[in-house]
């Protein structure tokens, strides 16, 4: 089994992604509180801006990596039969990958159409 994203690597990744998620999350809440989008065009134009689009993608990828480390720890703690643990970890990886591609597709389409 791969040793990537385990031990010290996972520990650092969990904290680095946490800091970005925290900063972006607070900024997002701030924008939504101070000047929420008034209509569809404005909402769309936000994400069509390359800076916002890429910052949002980094946010989503950070969340997915953070969730991988966190949920993996939960599964390892509570799921003892090895076959079930490995199956759920594989399902988790597949799910996170799917969600990441789904979000990327939405954010890329906004800039194309």
């Amino acid at each position: 089994m791969s040793r990537k994203l385990s031990g010290l690597g996972a520990w650092v990744l969990q904290r680095a992604t946490a800091i970005y998620i925290g900063l972006f999350g607070v900024a997002l809440l701030g924008v939504m509180l101070v000047s929420p989008p008034t209509d569809y065009a404005q909402w769309r134009n936000w994400f069509a801006d390359p800076l916002v689009g890429i910052a949002t993608l980094v946010f989503i990828v950070s969340i997915l990596l953070h969730a991988w480390v966190g949920i993996r720890d939960v599964l390892i703690d509570y799921i003892k039969p090895l076959w079930l643990r490995v199956s759920l970890l594989a399902l988790l990886a597949l799910g996170l990958l799917t969600w990441g591609l789904w979000a990327s597709q939405s954010l890329i389409l906004v800039r194309l159409v």
């Binding site: 904290r15 809440l29 569809y40 969730a67 939960v74």
Partner: protein, 128 residues
């Protein structure tokens, strides 16, 4: 039995008798909110996708958020995020040896647990 005295502590797993210290409560809440946030990910990506794909999609998301169910779910999400973030900041500070002593660790755990719900209520009210 040389270790007899050490074995006099009660050994039971009765959830109604276990008195978990506050930092322990915070720890399990960090885990619970983390799992809740994880479960919210696909729903949030769905809402982002729907809101971006068309004007009617944008309006159905906006309308859905203003229903009672929408408000309750948004509050739950904001609470989970606020709790997880505040507890996370506390863990990062403990990583660099800030607030590691028992009285401070207990106080900061209480602060996180008690701050998150009113903060979430205020934020949800501000967002809607």
């Amino acid at each position: 039995m040389p270790f007899e005295t050490a074995n006099k502590r009660p050994v039971h797993l009765d959830l109604f008798r276990i008195r978990l210290p506050v930092p322990g409560v915070l720890s399990i809440l960090h885990r619970i909110t983390g799992v809740l946030l994880f479960l919210a990910i696909p729903a949030l990506i769905y809402l982002l996708d729907l809101s971006l794909i068309s004007a009617s999609g944008f309006h159905s998301v906006a309308e859905g958020l203003h229903t009672l169910t929408g408000k309750v779910l948004l509050f739950a999400l904001v609470w989970a995020f606020a709790h997880h973030l505040l507890a996370g900041i506390r863990y990062l500070l403990i990583d660099i040896d800030l607030g590691l002593d028992r009285p401070t660790a207990r106080l900061s755990a209480w602060i996180v647990i008690l701050t998150a719900p009113p903060l979430a209520l205020l934020l949800t009210w501000g967002l809607l």
